[in-house]
């Protein structure tokens, strides 16, 4: 059989082997309820699920809609549910899911716009609400030079800066599924990324959003966010650390009400 152009020089495994992909379809102008549609896709040794979806789009059914961009685990746009697990489809090999069928759906806990495309406005609003940028009481002037940082100070927050906003943690979080008001793992981890940055002075402003019932305190440390995270951000650890520091602040305020903040 012909080697698919998309996969470059991909070698076909076991001459002509095929696998079934059951893909979630939702076309609001055509149907009121979503359905799963089966496609037969050739098995290539070095194909990931995203390659199989692109094969469908290019050769079998051009109406299938999904997001993707970089194909290398950097852009964070191809997150989907594959056999029930939240995963980046560019990082999940078809071969590891044989003999199939492989069930591909949109990320859970989000409204579906069409097929595999989810609506992420809720996340974007929450992300903006925690001010994920460096906040200074007073900006230094350009003449005063850059804000210097030691390697140890960088190491304090670097892990949390690796987030690519792929939303796998939201799809995996059962608390977010039950309580859409929950701020959620990635946003709290990104807030911590700035709180723990030696150049930042905005922890108090973020605390007003996060040290609340809808913020960190809704988390029950299920830990699935850290299991599915493709970048090892470990949002569960970020939330736990936030709980510890907020608790210390709470007791400080209780025992020393005059201490301010």
């Amino acid at each position: 059989m012909a080697v698919d152009s998309l996969a470059g020089n991909a070698a076909v495994v076991a001459g002509g082997e095929m696998v079934t992909l059951e893909v979630f379809r939702y076309r609001p102008e055509e149907e009121t309820e979503p359905v799963y549609q089966a496609y037969e896709v050739p098995v290539h040794k070095d194909w990931v699920v995203l390659d199989a979806l692109n094969h469908i789009k290019d050769h079998l059914d051009g109406t299938l809609s999904f997001r993707w961009s970089c194909r290398m685990g950097v852009c964070g746009s191809c997150g989907m549910m594959v056999n029930g697990d939240a995963t980046l489809t560019c990082a999940t090999f078809v071969e590891s899911l044989l003999p199939g069928p492989i069930r591909v759906g949109p990320l859970e806990n989000f409204p579906v716009v069409r097929d595999l495309i989810i609506e992420m406005n809720d996340f974007m609003e929450k992300l903006e609400s925690v001010k994920p940028w460096i906040i200074r009481d007073e900006e230094k002037s350009l003449e005063d030079g850059a804000y210097l940082q030691t390697p140890a100070q960088l190491a304090d927050f670097k892990q949390f800066s690796m987030c690519i906003n792929c939303l796998l943690c939201y799809a995996a979080c059962p608390v977010y599924g039950l309580e859409p008001s929950f701020t959620g793992p990635a946003v709290i981890a990104l807030a911590q990324r700035y709180n723990l940055d030696s150049r930042d002075q905005g922890a108090g402003e973020r605390n007003a959003i996060l040290n609340t019932d809808e913020g960190i305190w809704q988390c029950t440390l299920v830990g699935e966010c850290s299991v599915v995270c493709p970048k090892d951000v470990d949002p569960a650890a970020a939330i736990q650390r936030y709980k510890v520091s907020s608790t210390l602040q709470w007791y400080q305020k209780l025992l020393m009400p005059w201490s301010g903040k």
């Binding site: 040290n211 019932d213 029950t220």
Partner: protein, 115 residues
């Protein structure tokens, strides 16, 4: 800023979990296995009572029992809230769970004082 009481409950939960995980297995192995199976000689009742009456032992037992109760209360509250999805009974659940732990704490305190 909205104030929240959660840090208080969470700190009791955390402290209780840490204490229970560290010390309850030790207590269980000594009293539940080692002594009944004869690995250790059973101490005389009077000696154990005297040990338990020591102020440090009373404090230790009180904290271990009370904080374990609050650990249970917090976890059970979220088990009911999220697990059984009884969100609308939030206040009732909290009163029952933390109230139960408070009753247990008072009972433990009363028992230990009158030991």
């Amino acid at each position: 800023m909205k104030t929240t009481i959660e840090p208080f409950w969470w700190s009791l939960f955390g402290a209780g979990g840490t204490l229970a995980a560290l010390f309850i297995p030790i207590t269980l192995i000594i009293n539940g296995l080692a002594i009944p199976l004869g690995w250790l000689d059973a101490p005389a009742y009077e000696n154990v009572l005297q040990l338990a009456r020591h102020p440090l032992a009373r404090t230790y037992l009180f904290l271990l029992i009370s904080l374990s109760f609050y650990h249970w209360a917090h976890r059970f509250r979220f088990t009911l809230y999220d697990g059984l999805q009884l969100k609308h009974l939030n206040l009732l659940i909290a009163v029952i769970c933390y109230g139960g732990a408070t009753v247990g704490t008072i009972a433990a305190g009363y028992t230990l004082i009158n030991l």
